[in-house]
Symmetry: C2
Subunit: 151 residues, 2 copies
DNA sequence: ATGCAAATGCAAATCATTATCATTTGGAGG
DNA sequence: CCTCCAAATGATAATGATTTGCATTTGCAT
């Protein structure tokens, strides 16, 4: 299976052993459509009958994030760290305040902006993290329906 | 003192009592040059001889954030919530990865970007949160000095 | 001045995460 | 294929960040 082969290579390349637990966690994040917290990942593993300790989940996640195989982010609305696969694509999160779903988008408006900041403040930019809040298409439609019904 | 008068009015306007603790916390955040976590706020209050319980600090911060008198943010590098005054100005954080200082900037590149997202994905944007990582001017100079010395 | 609901102090509890140590495992090397 | 050992894990305890419950205090309307 070429997916686990690339995990094995990625782990090797990072000087990490290819353990069942690490591979399983990378698989979970590979399949996920949005960033997950440690507990969600743990539950997904349990659901797939992978024997693992929650403390190991935390340790593995932090290790993989340190090696940049995955990305650790956070969310203002939660007091929990979030993790997502690192495709080495540059993406941002759209967070629906209704259903809490996170939509990943590729567009980024920063090139010009970062140049401007560098010139103006002398700040050497290494990266950024952007979360956009709003309401997704689905929830907008649902809310419109509900508004119609309440008339 | 017109500062505490405006706090009193802001609290009243939000349906909250004007307690010593709330006023003191708003003052701390008013004076701060960057977002602070609960422990930093608690220590600043203690330093100013304000008698308060840490659990009250948490409670007051969450109450004020709920009423949008202050803003609750988070930082990926910490497992701690951050709080800052809400000037109703639109600002972003530049985070120096060296000294951890947070610099507030007014510039925002989002108008065009948000229009584009709305058209493309049908996402109704209500707001965003942006953290930019890099190295501030001061630390760049210090690092250059150190590099010169190590030759 | 009074009374009452909101707010606070305090301590305990909960939640999210990390540390410690005994045991297991991946994989290099022979 | 076997051995050995350092890395990794399981299990549990601990820690740090935050929240909760309840008795008491306080802001403020009357």
């Amino acid at each position: 299976m070429s997916e686990t082969l690339s995990h094995k290579e990625a782990l090797q390349h990072s000087g990490l052993k290819n353990t069942k637990q690490r591979s399983a966690i990378l698989n979970i994040l590979e399949k996920a459509t949005q960033p997950l917290n440690a507990d969600q990942i743990y539950l997904a593993l349990v659901t797939e009958k992978v024997a693992i300790n929650l403390s190991t989940v935390y340790r593995v996640l932090n290790t993989l994030a340190e090696k940049e195989l995955i990305i650790k982010t956070s969310s203002v609305s939660d007091n929990k760290a979030l993790f997502e696969r690192n495709d080495f694509k540059h993406q941002h999160h759209l967070v629906c305040v209704e259903c809490k779903e996170i939509i990943l988008v590729d567009e980024c408006p920063f090139e010009e902006y970062e140049k401007k900041l560098n010139e103006k403040i002398g700040f050497t930019i290494l990266g950024h993290q952007l979360e956009i809040y709003g309401i997704c298409d689905k929830c907008q439609k649902r809310i419109e329906e509900e508004n119609k019904r309440s008339i």
